[in-house]
């Protein structure tokens, strides 16, 4: 898959992974594994980007005597997912065009 395309998709995947409930690094990677393989070193910059973009909030909680950072989606993050889903309809048309060799 194209690197730029994958980069955009990964952000949406991460937002989707934390859409239902807040999550943490290890769990996000595990939840995404059936759909898309993402490494720890790839996930971290995505989380930082989403946080600085206001799409994700963080909080730290003590778990088993150590600190664990939880990531929670914001309304802006949910908007981003909704925009992506809307954009998928157009994407499907384009994808269809390409796959059918220009014949719709």
């Amino acid at each position: 898959m194209d690197a730029q395309l994958k980069k955009g998709l990964l952000e949406i995947c991460v937002l989707t992974a934390i859409q239902k409930e807040e999550s943490y690094g290890y769990k996000i990677i595990a939840d995404l594994a059936p759909c898309i393989k993402i490494s720890e070193s790839t996930l971290y910059p995505i989380l930082r980007r989403l946080e600085s973009g206001g799409m994700v909030e963080t909080r730290t909680e003590i778990y088993n005597g150590r600190a664990r950072k939880y990531f929670r989606i914001t309304p802006l993050g949910k908007e981003k997912i909704a925009e992506f889903i809307e954009g998928m309809e157009e994407f499907e048309k384009i994808s269809d065009f390409i796959v059918k060799g220009g014949n719709l």
């Binding site: 690094g25 720890e40 070193s41 950072k69």
Partner: protein
């Protein structure tokens, strides 16, 4: 490579970032490392999946519009740290250590003085009746024996008390030294 070494290397490569960013990145990897090892994954396997700390740092630096520091600047930081440690050792650690050792030695000396006083008192007590040869009165002999016994008593008290004080001072000095050494090693 152990996790501590991996993390330390990552920290060095993240030097172009502000301290808070560096700390956040290191905490992120530490949290995932602990989660994975807690779930039963081998430390070596976790570190292999993380990849080289240099590569992890590069991804993050690129996100922040920065590039990897040159090895010379990473090494320069290490050299500066070594020079700093040298002066800290010479100006503070050595004098403080010498003072601590001197105090423990002083306690030990008092314990030895106590033992010597006990011995002297015992000899004085035993030898007191010999004064009768030189014509000393019974009262004088008793007084000498009393002084000898008193010296024994004081000596025993000093010897016992300062043996304990020396022992525990030495133990705590050693524990403190080992704790500081271990902390520096882990850092």
């Amino acid at each position: 490579m152990t996790y501590k070494v991996w993390e330390k290397t990552l920290w060095k490569y993240l030097s172009p970032l502000p301290k808070e960013e560096r700390e956040a990145a290191v905490e992120y990897y530490r949290e995932i490392y602990e989660d994975k090892t807690e779930a039963g994954e081998l430390p070596e396997s976790v570190l292999a999946k993380f990849g080289a700390p240099k590569d992890c740092a590069e991804k993050l630096l690129v996100e922040n519009g920065k590039s990897l520091p040159s090895m010379s600047s990473v090494n320069a930081n290490s050299v500066a740290s070594i020079i700093g440690m040298f002066f800290l050792t010479v100006l503070i650690v050595i004098p403080l250590s010498a003072a601590a050792i001197s105090i423990v030695a002083a306690f030990a000396s008092v314990a030895v003085v106590g033992a010597a006083t006990t011995l002297a008192g015992a000899i004085f007590t035993v030898a007191s009746p010999v004064s009768a040869i030189s014509g000393a009165s019974f009262g004088a002999i008793l007084a000498q024996m009393g002084m000898g016994v008193a010296a024994c008593g004081v000596g025993i008290l000093l010897a016992i008390a300062f043996t304990f004080i020396t022992r525990y001072s030495f133990i705590y000095l050693m524990k403190g030294t080992l704790a500081i050494y271990k902390r520096r090693k882990d850092a």
